[in-house]
Amino acid sequence: MVRGFGWAAAFPDEVWEHVFSFLAADADRNAVALVCRAWHRIERRSRRRVFVGNCYAVAPAAAVRRFPEVRAAAIKGKPHFADFNLVPTDWGGGAEAWVEAMAEGWPHLEELRLKRMVVSDDCLELIARSFKNFGVLSLVSCDGFSTAGLAAIAANCRNLRELDLHENEVEDNCLNWISHFPESFTSLVSLNIACLEGDVNTSVLECLISRCPNLRTLRLNHAMPLEKLVSLLQRAPQLMDLGTSKFSADHHPELFFKLESTFAGFKHLKSLSGIWEAGPAYLPAIYSVCESLTSLNLCYATIQSPELFKLVSRCKNLQRLWVMDLIEDNGLIAVAASCKLLQELRVFPSDPYGVAPPISLTEHGLVAISAGCLMLHSVLYFCRQMTNAALLTIANNRPNLTCFRLCIIEPHTPDYISQEPLDAGFSAIVESCKDLRRLSLSGLLTDRVFKSIGASANRLEMLSVAFAGDSDAGLHYILSGCKNLRKLEIRDCPFGDKALLDNASKLETMRSLWMSSCSVTLGACRQLALKMPRLNVEVIDERRGRPLESWPDDFPVEKLYIYRTVAGPRSDTPPCVWTV
């Protein structure tokens, strides 16, 4: 590489900027910024998109200062296990610090995507007021705000194109927030309100939809009755992505025909979701769009297998299917035969606590899919039994898997035929699927599986482990291998201090590590924190009591969250969290 900035000055900055504009991936732009000072300067001034995987990894002001021309920002807060209630609700992830810094330094911000953060109504109001050209707001798995905050967004964001509210906990205190979109507002392209619990004024929504000709995505919430849904949908035949409301009502032939003809009118529909409480009576109304669907989300539709089968087998062009295990093995075998373009399959448990009679969804369904769907690369599968042989077959059939998440509902379940641990099966998966980026383990597993993972899973970025392993060796194998590991989350495993301390420097190459109900002591955390100043070692203990300083070294740590940061310990820790 030529030294000095002579060669960089051969072209004006604008030329380099133009060259860099072809680099989409953050990793590439980061690499460019390291080449020389000139490129660092040019790159930072031209970066338009920023992704902050951990809101505490960098101070908001620092990020805003480094990249002054950002137009789109995505920020994530709480650890992934917060989705399953393992993280205390007051842990943190508040969005104010970021929103305030962005309001100050990025007045031209157009897109903001927040995931697992606590967003207050004040934040929403600040967003609504601060960014003149604001176009996209996406809140995923967030909480802390109400429909009053949404009203502020509706009222002030004149150029809003996308409002995406996905799986948030939203307080409903402003019933008519939708009416805050002014009459002159016509720019909406995407509206997702599926997570809202309250009623939405249908006539106001109808008016809104009617005056937004570019609307492509509309995902409604559960509350709207079917008759109202029909009249609403008739206003938007151009939709490409639809999330319906409740899909059941007392059987009315007239309503059925209206629904059927409404769906027949959708010439561009590619994605369908919602279908809450679907009754068999109204499901056939969807048949006319099945052929064109590429994405079908039925995970809230507790329909039985025969109806599911009839619906899904018509969807010949499906690329993504999310469905309940009520589809059973037979349904999946039918999917494997009909849906040859399938890339992503998610099968959710209809009865996770085992109170109903068991249904016939086993390893056979997944094996059939792996054999029939050659483009399958992403799997999430909840089931009750598995064998090493099945996993081996899946691994051999689909070496192109990039995401494999298997959840055998009962912890420590062995291969039900051989009674062996499932080490061999999962080892086959990581050895065969060279591009595997995400893996979730379950069932009876010893340290052996971790040895395979550490050795073979070279592209693995995220690993989730629960109720597995025999000893520290398990954790050691992962941390000393898995070159590209970014996120590791562990619960209820006998992993302890030694593996953690022996691999301390690995932790700085990762975004974060979560460990709960393992065998880590406070002493190890203290040592780790001393050794690695650029890690925040957070000990979480909700039992309260005496402050951390007074606990002895052998005190068992209930929950541990470790993440790399250049911002030092955060200042907003709640009483149950200590930064060691």
């Binding site: 989705d83 399953f84 209630n85 393992l86 798995s141 799986e167 906990e169 997570c195 619990e197 309250g198 509350a223 809450w276 995970c299 809230y300 507790t302 959710f348 448990p349 209809s350 009865d351 996770p352 606590y353 085992g354 109170v355 109903a356 009679p357 909840f382 959840c407 509902i409 009962e410 912890p411 420590h412 379940t413 989730s464 629960a466 109720f467």
Partner: protein, 176 residues
Amino acid sequence: MGDQSNSPSSSIDSSSSHPALCSTSSIFQTRRDLLSTDLKLGLGLSTSALHGCSSKEREQLSHWPPIKPLLRSTLEEKVHRSHSKTFFVKVYMEGLPIGRKLDLFSHSGYDSLTRTLRRMFRTTIICPDTSRVPPEKAHVLTYEDKEGDWMMVGDVPWELFLRTVKRLKITRADKC
């Protein structure tokens, strides 16, 4: 870890019906819903009653399997709906070795229940509000609650009774 009961869902001895009743209340705290009379059960359930209802297994395997809150609450609604159709308890009469099964949900209150039991066991049963029968010919209806205590039927409001009853026993009145 794996002592999940394998008993069939119709068995009353398993605690399967109670977690279902209790878990539904959590969704009523967080979701508005169209309520039928069956579903009134969920209303007014205090948080203390809710915590007391969790089965030991659920407490051991906290927050497992890993499903997101929205899906979890949708499933709890579905469980409630499938359970709200029937709630069978066993009824034993003193002196008879074989118990009978009775669907409590198909009764609107204590009157309805005692009428059915009278028909089933061909005896008169004393209820707090029907004391027209001489004691020596009558039986008394008691129930075992989830704490294992035997109580007189009729002492508590019907809704509360439904939440705590595990099984019923008919004993001779003059023995009490």
